[in-house]
Symmetry: C2
Subunit: 125 residues, 2 copies
């Protein structure tokens, strides 16, 4: 779950790598984004909001985010169980960056895709 330290090297000196590693997580950013839009979200809600994620992976993603202190988890002692997730303060500070990222992506995606096609084409010929 928590990746194990990533052996030595620049990595230890460079905090970025650690963060980026999180973002490498296929669903982490999306989960943060979704949480940023909903205040408090139950596990099953997240499952519905992100249809393609399996419960196992969602669970793992949330646990990582929680471990990092980006997400907090609240359990209610009721039956059936109820658990709510929400962004922490720190988690919320990350949101604007992710949004910018998505905006950049939306702005440039067409060009990128086009360029990629071109590139592959040349590669073939």
């Amino acid at each position: 779950m928590l990746r194990k330290e990533e052996r030595n090297s620049i990595i230890e000196i460079c905090p970025v790598r650690n963060v980026i590693a999180r973002f490498g997580n296929k669903w982490a950013l999306l989960v943060v984004l979704v949480l940023s839009e909903h205040e408090k979200v139950r596990f099953s809600e997240l499952c519905r909001l992100i249809p393609d994620i399996s419960s196992r992976v969602l669970s793992g993603t949330l646990k990582t985010l929680e471990a990092d202190g980006l997400v907090s988890r609240t359990t209610y002692p009721v039956v059936p169980p109820k658990v709510e997730y929400q962004l922490t303060e720190m988690g919320r500070t990350l949101v604007p960056l992710i949004v910018q990222l998505t905006e950049w992506a939306q702005t440039n995606m067409k060009k990128i895709v086009a360029h990629r096609k071109e590139f592959e084409a040349e590669d073939e010929g």
Copy 2:
């Protein structure tokens, strides 16, 4: 190299996922960052500037970035071969975002690491 389309789902509708996928690439962001600091860089220079990357992986990373149109590659017809990489205009627009990301990381890393330790500790107990 170019990951193959990622099967259907939100993914296709959501450009973000594509971009994030790139950033998931272990070295992509760092390469962009390094390129942003050096204008034109030769392959071997990059190898030195990022000691932990293997030539094979660096090559792949650069090719992906090139395919996306974030990096341009110039070959000089000389012996021994000389190849220079540099950011494209679009690539440069990405740099500020990466920088912000790194700044966020630097700002929050201590807290994150601490939180992670705590979390693991509880988990054990």
